[in-house]
């Protein structure tokens, strides 16, 4: 049963093929067996998960069960969960148990989801490999020598390895799409403002957006429907009705104009990956879509702009972790300055400290105009490129990443090589657009992701295109070898 999609599980639970408690127990058993190697979870919550599953079973016995009653999911450890440690994969918050749920968590609870635990990630979501976690690196279920991507690597690995039916992730520069691509699952970063950021620990406020990670576009549509919507407690959340994403999945691809940015098929892209992407694009064409070459002329600005704006915002977002009210505090501080410097030095890992320093520098008086202001100008140009493109095409398609999963440690000493992982994903965040990544076959046994980008609030169209492609292909059904050989009871 743990290999089923969310859509299938909803039906099976309603048909009483099995109970949520049985399903939850299967996932918990699987986590116990398998996660020692993968390290996709930071915290597992068996007791509360089983209690929630029991409550869901009672609701399922009546006729007023909420839409996702009894579905076991995992939350990225960046979403605050009431009573359950929320660490952001940092020593800084190793002791932090929030007294509140993030809006995303609250909405999924109301929809009936069972919380299995909290998934591993890059510390404070800063990274593309999930290696910077205080709790150790997470591994890719397709090849445990490889990274699962990041920062939502734990969520991607858990879903790919059947350690959860689905999971939540966050995406600031590609953190849902890149690990989804590297682990062979489907994940969508919604339009900025579509999903509430309240209770989601901030990395870069103007870029962060939460979204679902699952096996199929259909599952993403179901989960996004439950997560999205206006939240008066987040001023940047949009007050706009949430479409029925699941109902919209049947939209045909006939006549859909798909733009292919020339800049995404340049020398950065590994040729084997380019082949897989072109094959997927041919499938879309076969389903009735038209492929159009387009330009995103300022693409090359997205890395420099992002690596000013995101660290700038992060440097002040992370100022609250000062050892005063909660979180890590150094032993016997001599004075206030010592309390600040030692608590932060001990509490934050290298990459987080690097980005705080970059961001502080970029905002400093005398440098602000040269860095932050320029980056904001570049951001407007990038956004305008996308808006112009959507005058010609309905969606944009291309690779999610330049290559498949890389080895652990391969890029940890070279931050810039790591930053290049997000070359195709960053611009989308800078422009605030929705985008998803879905499996498009493999290279040397490792999954490759196809990225689809839509206009603002165009999630329904993106999910429909992905769903139609998944109806016609089986890339999303391919399983990591270790998973296939485990031979599950369901």
């Amino acid at each position: 049963m743990i290999t089923m999609t969310v859509a299938q599980l909803i039906q099976a639970l309603r048909d009483r093929e099995f109970s949520s408690v049985e399903l939850t127990r299967s996932y918990l058993d699987r986590i116990a067996q398998r996660d020692g190697e993968l390290n996709s979870y930071i915290s597992v919550a068996p007791e509360t998960a089983l209690a929630e599953a029991e409550a869901a079973d009672r609701l399922l016995a009546g006729d007023s069960a909420p839409p996702l009653a009894g579905i076991p999911i995992a939350h990225k450890d960046i979403f605050c969960t009431r009573g359950l440690r929320t660490s952001c994969a940092s020593r800084m918050l190793d002791n932090f148990v929030p007294p509140y749920d993030a809006t995303v968590v609250e909405r999924l609870r109301h929809a009936g989801c069972v919380t299995l635990g909290k998934t591993n990630m890059d510390e404070f979501a800063m990274g593309s490999s999930s290696e910077s976690s205080y709790y150790g690196a997470c591994r890719n279920p397709w090849d445990s020598r490889c990274v699962p991507g990041g920062s939502s690597g734990g969520s991607a690995a858990a879903v790919a390895a059947d350690l959860a039916a689905a999971a939540t992730g966050t995406d600031t520069g590609g953190s849902i799409r890149q690990p989804a691509a590297l682990c062979g699952i489907t994940g969508i970063k919604p339009t900025y403002g579509r999903v509430s950021r309240l209770g989601m620990i901030a990395f870069a406020s103007s870029l962060d957006q939460g979204g679902p990670m699952a096996r199929t576009a259909e599952d993403c549509a179901i989960l996004l429907g439950a997560m999205a919507g206006h939240d008066a407690r987040d001023s940047t959340s949009m007050d706009r009705p949430v479409p029925d994403y699941r109902a919209a999945l049947s939209l045909s691809l006939q006549g859909l104009r798909i733009g292919l940015p020339r800049e995404w098929f340049g020398e950065q892209l590994q040729s084997a990956v380019a082949d897989r992407i072109r094959a997927a694009l041919r499938e879309l064409e076969a389903l009735g879509a038209t492929l159009v070459d387009i330009d995103l002329a300022h693409s090359e600005l997205s890395i420099p702009a992002y690596y000013i704006i995101a660290p700038a915002e992060a440097s002040t977002n992370l100022a609250r972790y000062d050892g005063v009210r909660y979180g890590h505090r150094c032993d016997s501080p001599r004075d206030l300055h010592d309390l600040y410097t030692r608590s932060r030095e001990e509490g934050f890992g290298d990459e987080v400290q690097r980005r705080i320093l970059i961001g502080t520098y970029a905002l400093s008086s005398g440098y602000y105009d040269a860095f932050y202001k320029k980056a904001q100008q570049a951001r407007r140009l990038i956004r305008q490129d996308y808006l112009d493109a959507f005058g010609q095409v309905d969606i944009i398609a291309g690779p999610t990443t330049p290559g498949p999963a890389f080895r652990l440690g391969e890029k940890t000493d070279d931050p810039v090589a790591m930053y290049l992982e997000d070359i195709y994903t960053l611009g989308v965040n800078l422009a605030g657009l929705p985008a998803l990544s879905m499996p498009a076959g493999q290279v040397d046994g490792l999954p490759v992701g196809l990225q689809l980008v839509g206009p603002h609030f165009g999630e329904a169209q993106l999910l429909a295109a992905a769903h139609q492609l998944q109806l016609a292909t089986d890339w999303h059904q391919q399983r990591p070898p270790a998973t296939a050989s485990t031979g599950d009871a369901a």
Binding site: T86, F96, L198, D234, S235, T236, R325, L336, L363, Y368
Partner: protein, 486 residues
Amino acid sequence: MSWETVIGLEVHLQLATQSKIFSGSSTRFGAEPNTQASAVDLAMPGMLPVLNEQAVRFAVMFGLGIDAEIGRRSVFDRKNYFYPDLPKGYQISQFAEPIVGRGEFEITLEDGSTRSIGITRAHLEEDAGKSLHEDFHGQTGIDLNRAGTPLLEIVSEPDLRSATEAVAYLKALHSLVLYLGISDGNMAEGSMRCDINLSLRPAGSDTLGTRAEIKNVNSFRFVEKAIQFETLRQADILESGGRVVQETRLYDAERDETRPMRSKEVANDYRYFPEPDLLPVVLEESWIAQLRSELPELPPAKRARFVSDYGLSTYDAGVLVDSRALADYFEAVARDCGDAKIAANWVQVELLGQLNREDLDITRSPVPPTQLAGLIRRILDDSISGKIAKQVFEAMWQGEGDADQIIESRGLKQVSDSGKLEAMVDAVIKDSPDQVAQYRAADAGKQKKLIGYFVGQVMKASRGQANPGMVNQLLARKLGDNQQDA
């Protein structure tokens, strides 16, 4: 050399909203430490600010009150610095695009002259918490009840020239914000705090000298003393050929001096940038127009109206419009008794005198306007004399009831019965043969003076209740009659 003092003030005004500027916590003063600090105020992970619309309304009301430019689009920024009572590690403030722009503000000095003071800008921001050093041995306690309280920072141009002008400006500002109802103006509770920027320049010079900033002065008196001290300090430096250092100083009220803050207490680079958790505030014209139409009558307009409608002097009108409560009190009395000048006189002399003696605010006067008007009516209809009226007022102050009850129960009604008065006058004339003779021997000019003695005797005999006008008439006639008779 003679020096000109140049002063600009930055006033931090606490706005009288029920809840904080970015969270739903109460802003009530004096609660147990940290009982009014929510997850947002504590800067817990993932918490986000939501702007309190009332704070925006109050800020715009202030802008309209001084006829300033209103920022149709204003932006919140983060002002970054580390301090234990600043939970987020940044203060949400407004930097490049404030909600209130350039305006003018007229102040009246004690000699009755007026000056126009430029307002550079006013912007919204949140207050920090408080660090408590006293009660924790070798440690510091943090109270975050105040963290997130809405402040309006009002920045003046360097248009003030003396401590007196600075205080007049602050008092006028204080009066304005109370009129607008946007702050409780309670200085002792920190609702109005002031940073002073002060420099000297040779009299007649156009260029500004190097300034010092004196932080966080929280009473009119301390502002006055801090400016006086700092003016002398800078003059001494300049006179002896030295140079003033641009720095931040503190005013120490106990020693009555300013001194430099430790460099640790001064952050140099706040790394301002637009707050990404809040959208720009965009104001609709119709919303602003609505607020403008709802503004109360403000002191300058009210003063002018009191002069034209009630015939008061500019000075009297100025005293009465000092607070909205006092002006309302006066108008209630004037309307009720029908004589604005007598009402103004009673309110200013007797009522304010008594309130000042007992250190009471007009809102806590034991004599309500209806009672004071009732008293004045009895003066106007000759039921009591002005002198008796003061006795009645004393009794009303003590809570003995309204004027008519007191006049009745104390038997203070003026005697206007001509028969009774004539008998009293006759008795006095009879008992004062020497004075009568003196009077009758005098010329008309002297008689006018001498008659006072007889009036006094009659008033004494009547215990003050005789109608003085009638007594005068009777005496003039009787003393004259007898003269003719003789």
